[in-house]
Point group: none
Chain length 465, copies 2
Amino acid sequence: MSTIALDPVLSHIDTSFDASVEHLFDLLRIKSISTDPAFKADCRQAAEWLVKDLQSIGFDASVRDTPGHPMVVAHHEGPTDDAPHVLFYGHYDVQPVDPLNLWENDPFAPAVKDMGNGRKIMTGRGTSDDKGQLMTFVEACRAYKAVHGKLPVKVTILFEGEEESGSPSLKPFLEQNKQELKADCALVCDTGMWDEKTPAISVGLRGLVGTEVTVFAADRDLHSGSFGGAAANPIHILSKIVADIHDENGHITIPGFYDGVEETPSQILQSWDNLGRTAENFLGPIGLSVPSGEKGRSVLELTWARPTAEVNGITGGYTGDGFKTVIAAQASAKISFRLVHKQDPEKIRAAFHQFVLDRLPADCRAEFANHGGSPAIQLPYDSSLVNKAKDALSDEWPNPAVLTAMGGSIPIVGDFDTYLGMESLLVGFGLEDDRIHSPNEKYEITSFHKGQRSWARILNALAQK
Amino acid sequence: MSTIALDPVLSHIDTSFDASVEHLFDLLRIKSISTDPAFKADCRQAAEWLVKDLQSIGFDASVRDTPGHPMVVAHHEGPTDDAPHVLFYGHYDVQPVDPLNLWENDPFAPAVKDMGNGRKIMTGRGTSDDKGQLMTFVEACRAYKAVHGKLPVKVTILFEGEEESGSPSLKPFLEQNKQELKADCALVCDTGMWDEKTPAISVGLRGLVGTEVTVFAADRDLHSGSFGGAAANPIHILSKIVADIHDENGHITIPGFYDGVEETPSQILQSWDNLGRTAENFLGPIGLSVPSGEKGRSVLELTWARPTAEVNGITGGYTGDGFKTVIAAQASAKISFRLVHKQDPEKIRAAFHQFVLDRLPADCRAEFANHGGSPAIQLPYDSSLVNKAKDALSDEWPNPAVLTAMGGSIPIVGDFDTYLGMESLLVGFGLEDDRIHSPNEKYEITSFHKGQRSWARILNALAQK
């Protein structure tokens, strides 16, 4: 049993909060934009800053070179040899800041803004994604060390510098350092809250398959007067293919598409219903009102736990001003599939290609281009890890924690499972209006403060066997 | 009876042929793309070039302003006051040239290419549609003037600069200048031969309705991870609309679409069958083999005497390189309908708009843009005008002239009937492989040469009372 008291740690976080903000601001001032080669040295500087900071609180930390931007790896022993061992993941790289003219403040001159009614935010690139978030965990560790001189569990830290540029070095690094990085579970802090009062644990992440199809008919553009009514029109063929993907109930008709899709447990669906998200309040702000997908399912289920097929772009023939009576030689569409549960990206891709080929006239042909594929991630709804975190978060915030899913994907979670055989816990304190990837990114002061306290509580809970 | 000998005119055409090519090339170099506002000045330049040229051979010619691109009107007296009077029509505007990278030569740097076996072509935008064609008539007039100092008939010329962009100014211009433009008949040179040895007179012309539909869904582009599966995708909606237009037999499903369509007389269908046009030899040269339209009808009937619906362009969402997981706010398509017999353009347009509205989800909307509309034309099979031209053409070419129909529309023919009460004669020297409206447009040197001789013969025949 842990002999490390939680309350003085929480108090220490409260009293040293201003210092933690100043500390974070030092990191935010470093322009670690990973996707732009001009900021290569800045990325290394951010890694070195983190190493130095972790060393200052007793971690065995080092910058680790990769073919791209470096990783930061750090280790800290637990209170006992058999203490639980967690791997904490975050990323120190940030998105580009253009268009710069839309920022109200310099993106790399972080500042605290008083919004009135007791609400304060911090502004700047990386405040929410992900420097502010990863420092919530580091500050929790700092507080434990300051109060008790030790951490409640054994901690390994992995900070990446390429998350915003496709993480090319991550998989090889995990494979090459499997032994060093393996822990009992992974804690990932790169997600959000349900709302400003309700913490969330993300347990579902949709996968993604991207593909592009080009239908070819005649070997040249044709005059629709001369050939219309006799020559195949690739726009018609492509439109028919797109139209055939969904039936009148929004169900996807590609054979085998739903293989591996599971029904979400009814108690989870019930808990989502309780969140009060309606078609009206979800679609209203974007000018819509009618859910477009599978009938008879809530908008949260549709976006969190059901697979989709969406055409992201289509083009063919004359699309400029005015009119041109042409029958195009080709037409193409970019299509993405969001996957859930155990759907197999490559099977889906192959099934769609066959679906297209089955709809081509004998004298037409199609070409395909691939644009990435990753399976969905489904984490447990009620593991010991999830339940401990849920209770810890519920103790900290006004509302109890909810288990949510995400429409998008976080590939690292699949990689931790594949390469290190670890369950991940996804907890973060971002809000939907944080404008990550956009001008005027911000992070709530409450998120940074209660985020630190939340990790202190979670580490304390994980220490209890 | 005409006292103007034909043979020396034909000889003059032969000996001054190279000069006529150089002359045409001056006109072809002018980028008179009427549908793109960037080329407004070029259109006027082409009109001015033509006026100057017509003045040089004794026409009373002028540029005539319209709200769009200008008309060219020119008059030349006949040999006697009671000589027959013809109105000749052509258009100096051309189609856009994109995709530019598919052109083997600069579209506006015309050139003669030796194809071997004595065959030569000229390449460039407008060589066949319609600058090369209209200059066959001007060159015939030039030869008459050079040899005889006069023309065999009274000639009025009308050159339009908006034919490729829906001719918005034409009807008002005809109405306002009825007295000035009225003649005994109209000669229109914007059509083709049956094949390289067989001249054709077109007696049937499909009408045309152009419309553009834009489907609007959310009020902004959406992330497909966050909203996919719940928010309406306008590309899906538009694709469904396009797919619904045709049933599995190629029949058009828009309610009332076939009102006014007549069955073509069996003896006409028989004469078309005798021309030996098969799906194989019609579609083979463009890389196709399967007729795509209404089942159970020949390709000639499909393209000459049946109505169609063709999407000429479609666009929506992200269409650049790579991939973007976006759900677009809007998607649009340009659609044209070819009409036959007594179909009513405005009824068809209205029926299609309703067809679209019937397929919109309640929270989406559509906007329409109109792009011209004209009914089909059916000309006589055996008038005096047709018979004289038929004989004149049969004298010039290896094979006798045939009466054909056309898949495309030439709205001017209906307008000449409506506003000026004139029968039109449609004679042209284009070939099906001229790639009009496409990259690498060309015109046979033989077409340009024997085309000039053909008009010399037709003018001579029309002079005989």
